[in-house]
């Protein structure tokens, strides 16, 4: 297998072609009509290894387009999984038709370009696109072998995979927006099963990087094997109230659950417990939360948001105080707030809404070990599950499955399984009693630190 020559073409022409496609669409606007075209091209290679052979080798090159049309204060939307001229024309026609049926709303208008200077980010690393396919396969197979050899207690390496992608986006609108952004990424992911029968445990880990040199296979091997094996012999403890310490990977999942209630779109629709709380203390004074898509440590870093507005670093919670929401142009307009470039699209078929792109908690001064040593009775949480059902971002109810290791008098003792930890997001933010200095970035594009929270209810036996 050789290099895919199409990758090279993709790099050279992707941006220009996409820009031409979106500007062609926008140029068809009739008088009084607002049009926004959002197009993407993604190239992806995905390789899974199993028992030292290739389980699957997948290559994809896909295009997508989404069109918003606003006619007389009514919005129409259509999208297509193809950039073929006939498909694009159909999408524009359907978006126009749809605008005839939806409700009139004076707040419906496309954002004006603020003409802010775009800070070009170094988010494109060709190293993964240039690597020979056989070397990518070798990375996956090496990972599988190392996982297999690392520890006899690992029974099955269920997943050892390599993935890379290049992603280009172009946005144009009749209100003056005309921007592109591009990024690459590659990752190694592992998932192993240790033990047998009733004492079976899994552990996983991912290393994500802009390019090949940043991949850390050793970390993936060590973390996934450690996570599975350290749970061997886990017990189901009695229910009690205790302190929890989220490992950075878990803390980032918890903080991500704040993206919905912090979204301006949730706020104006009265679906957020943060509504009317600006400038109030919503968390402990030690907590400062940023969304900074300009930090290229984040794999989702971007110069522009999902509406083509220039991204910037936004402080959302500072010293425990709620500063601002994550706004789409629409939510900013409705709430009379300043637009802050926080639009995201939850998939091609979704309209842009305010959301987080690169959450980051301001680091504290304590190491994970400091946090453990100063905890009398606690649970170090390694995994949480059931977030979709267990975290209600409207009411704030929080109840998730957890695995981890009990802490007694500052020492880690028994591993535990099959417990839930519960509270409400509102209370948890006020009960943070320790913030770690171990900031780490994850494949979600957000970072996490060890986070200690008091007064959680653990349900077990």
């Amino acid at each position: 297998m050789g290099k895919d020559l199409e990758n090279k073409n993709f790099l050279k022409t992707g941006k220009e072609q996409l820009l031409k496609t979106v500007s062609d669409i926008v140029s068809q606007a009739k008088e009084g009509e607002e049009i926004e075209a959002y197009a993407t091209q993604s190239y992806e290679t995905s390789i899974k290894a199993f028992k030292s052979t290739i389980e699957s080798f997948e290559q994809s090159n896909s295009h997508e387009i989404a069109i918003r049309v606003i006619n007389d204060h009514s919005l129409g939307f259509a999208w297509s999984g193809s950039l073929e001229p006939s498909e694009v024309a159909l999408a524009l026609k359907l978006a126009r038709e749809n605008s005839k049926y939806s409700s009139k709303d004076e707040f419906l208008r496309l954002p004006q370009d603020s003409h802010s200077t775009v800070i070009e980010l170094d988010t494109f690393d060709e190293s993964c696109l240039n690597l020979d396919s056989s070397k990518k396969i070798q990375l996956a197979i090496d990972l599988d072998r190392r996982l297999t050899d690392k520890d006899k207690r690992v029974r099955v390496v269920e997943r050892a995979s390599y993935l890379d992608f290049a992603h280009v986006v172009a946005i144009a609108s009749t209100t003056g927006i005309m921007r592109t952004a591009q990024r690459t990424g590659c990752l190694l992911a592992a998932y192993v099963i240790a033990g047998a029968d009733d004492d079976t445990h899994v552990g996983g880990s991912v290393s994500i990087s802009r390019g090949i040199p940043g991949l850390n296979m050793l970390k993936v091997v060590n973390e996934s094997v450690e996570r599975a094996t350290r749970l061997l012999g886990a017990i189901k403890p009695p229910s009690e109230e205790l302190t929890i310490i989220f490992e950075p990977r878990v803390a980032t999942i918890f903080m991500n659950s704040l993206s919905a209630p912090l979204s301006g779109n949730s706020v104006y629709k009265h679906r957020s417990f943060f509504e009317n709380r600006i400038n109030e203390l919503i968390a402990v004074k030690e907590l400062t939360l940023l969304d900074n898509p300009l930090d290229i440590s984040s794999i989702t870093a971007s110069e522009i948001d999902a509406e083509g507005l220039v991204c910037r670093s936004n402080t959302l919670i500072e010293g425990g105080k709620l500063i601002q929401f994550l706004h789409s142009s629409e939510s900013a307009l409705r709430l009379g707030a300043k637009a802050n470039g926080c639009s995201v699209r939850h998939g091609l078929a979704s309209l842009p809404v305010g959301g987080s792109r690169s959450f980051s908690i301001k680091q504290g001064s304590l190491t994970k070990n400091d946090l453990i040593r100063s905890t009398a009775k606690g649970l170090l949480v390694q995994t949480i599950s059931g977030l979709n059902s267990g975290v209600n971002t409207i009411s704030g109810d929080f109840s998730v499955g957890a695995e981890g290791i009990l802490i007694e008098n500052g020492e880690m003792t028994n591993p535990v399984k099959e417990v839930t930890i519960a509270g409400t997001i509102q209370k948890m933010l006020h009960n943070i009693s320790g913030i770690g200095n171990d900031l780490e970035w994850f494949s979600s594009g957000t970072s996490g630190v060890s986070l200690r929270i008091e007064g959680m209810k653990m349900s077990g036996k």
Binding site: D4, Q59, S60, G81, N98, K236, H270, S395
Partner: protein
């Protein structure tokens, strides 16, 4: 959109030029239409379309896969070559010729935008009118027509059209305890005729009733508690906690608790679990699976004993063949073993008998989403509507909480199954791919489940 037989032959021959035991082309076109009513107005009207082809080549235990949105001969041949990179120039080049296309059309009517808007307004009105405590309602309506053709080097060449229609409502109620949410949905593999059998107003009211009741809800208890699942409320639990472990891809990797357990007692003797892709208009129903095999009824657990697994083409090739469970999200995805409609068969008790026979427990009127670790069978599920059972009576509503447990363990703890039964739609995610599934179960009791509430 279907490809000519000669073009398919050309593409499959190209795919096997480097060798390999099997090649397949999956061509798909999907058009969807959606309306979202939120915050008192029609907020979003959308249409979306996609079409393309995915080609896979199997070379021993390795699979090569590539896809394209361009259905020209040139592009399909290029895609076949990309998929065939996995094979290593060995074996005999075969001359492939597929059968004539066997195509099952759908006659479902999807309706006009005005039809959709009428349904959604009716739903919204009923949800809003439920009470002054309802402060926000959002309604989503969507329907789609998916056409696909799958042809492979074994000669299979079939096509199918699937119409799907879905309506869902979220209501938010406001009271002294803050905001509470309610949810209800209906979804079938059919067109607008769904609403000949189902009044959209009922869906709206049900969602608001759930939100409203929760304003009075008490914090949920914690610890190991007896749980009664209302009929049709929680089939998803058996889908997640047991069904996934019976998918042959997990079995062959020794990554399931059910590996090597056929013939063993895995559940209480009143439990029979079935997966069946042929049930009426249910959400997981289709004539063929996405590999061109007819769907069918597969009994997985019979009277407590494990009798079989679910297979796709690749995993079934070493045993009795596919069980009609090879599914994929779209042409961009490789097929894998997936459930269709999975359900627990009814028993002899009545619902009233089960509740009056329960001294203390939780009655789950509606279970929410969840997830499972297939290697261990450990699951987590949220509740959407639940009550305390005290001295044989359903009493106070309780707030949302997660249930946690172990699938194989729960199956052994089912001690009563009622004679009622109903199904509900769901979306199953596996390895990043989403497919529509149906889940069903009668009212039943589980002697103990860990409930993740906040009070003792």
């Amino acid at each position: 959109m279907f490809l000519e037989q000669s073009l398919i032959d050309t593409v499959l021959n190209e795919a096997l030029k480097n060798g390999g035991q099997f090649a397949e082309i999956f061509v798909e076109s999907k058009n969807q239409s959606g309306v979202r009513f939120d915050n008192g107005k029609i907020e979003e009207l959308s249409n979306g379309g996609s079409k393309g082809a995915g080609i896979r080549v199997i070379f021993h235990s390795s699979t090569g896969f590539a896809h394209t949105a361009d259905l020209s001969e040139e592009s399909l041949i290029k895609t076949a070559r990309a998929a065939s990179q996995i094979a290593k120039n060995e074996g005999v080049i075969r001359d492939i010729s597929v059968w004539k296309n066997n195509h099952v059309p759908s006659f479902a009517e999807l309706g006009s935008k005005n039809d959709h808007i009428r349904i959604i307004e009716k739903t919204n009105d009923s949800a809003r009118e439920y009470g002054s405590e309802i402060v926000q309602v959002s309604v989503d309506f969507g329907n789609s027509m998916r056409s696909f053709q799958v042809a492979n080097s074994d000669g299979v060449n079939i096509g199918e059209q699937q119409a799907r229609t879905r309506l869902s409502v979220t209501s938010v109620a406001k009271g002294d305890t803050g905001l509470q949410t309610g949810y209800e949905s209906v979804a079938e593999t059919t067109g607008l005729d769904l609403f000949n059998r189902m009044d959209p107003s009922d869906i709206g009211r049900e969602s608001s009733r759930r939100a409203s009741i929760k304003l009075q809800a008490q914090p949920c208890p914690s610890g190991e508690i007896t749980v009664v699942l209302a009929g049709g409320s929680g089939g998803i639990l058996f889908h997640e906690a047991c069904g996934h472990g019976l998918e042959a891809d997990h079995i062959v990797k020794d990554a399931s608790v059910y590996t090597n357990k056929v013939g063993h007692r895995v559940a209480s003797s009143i439990v029979t679990l079935v997966d069946n892709g042929t049930v009426g208009h249910e959400w997981g129903t289709s004539t063929f699976d996405d590999e061109g095999h007819p769907t069918r009824e597969n009994v997985l657990i019979k009277d407590g004993e494990l009798v079989g697994y679910m297979y796709d083409f690749q995993r079934g090739s070493h045993s009795n063949g596919s069980s009609g469970n090879g599914r994929r999200q779209s042409y961009k995805h490789l097929p894998m073993v997936r459930m269709t409609n999975t359900y627990l068969m009814p028993g002899d008790a009545t619902k009233d008998e089960i509740i009056s026979d329960t001294k203390y427990g939780i009655y789950v009127a509606k279970l929410g989403g969840g997830s499972v670790n297939t290697a261990t069978g450990d699951f987590v599920f949220g509740t959407i509507e639940a009550y305390l059972i005290e001295n044989g009576k359903i009493t106070t509503p309780i707030r949302d909480a997660n249930l946690i447990g172990n699938g194989p363990d729960i199956l052994k703890k089912i001690d009563a199954i009622a004679d009622d039964f109903s199904m509900m739609p769901g979306t199953c995610g596996k390895d990043g791919q989403l497919v529509p599934v149906g889940c069903g179960q009668p009212t039943l009791r589980i002697t103990s489940v860990t409930v993740g509430g906040t009070v003792k």
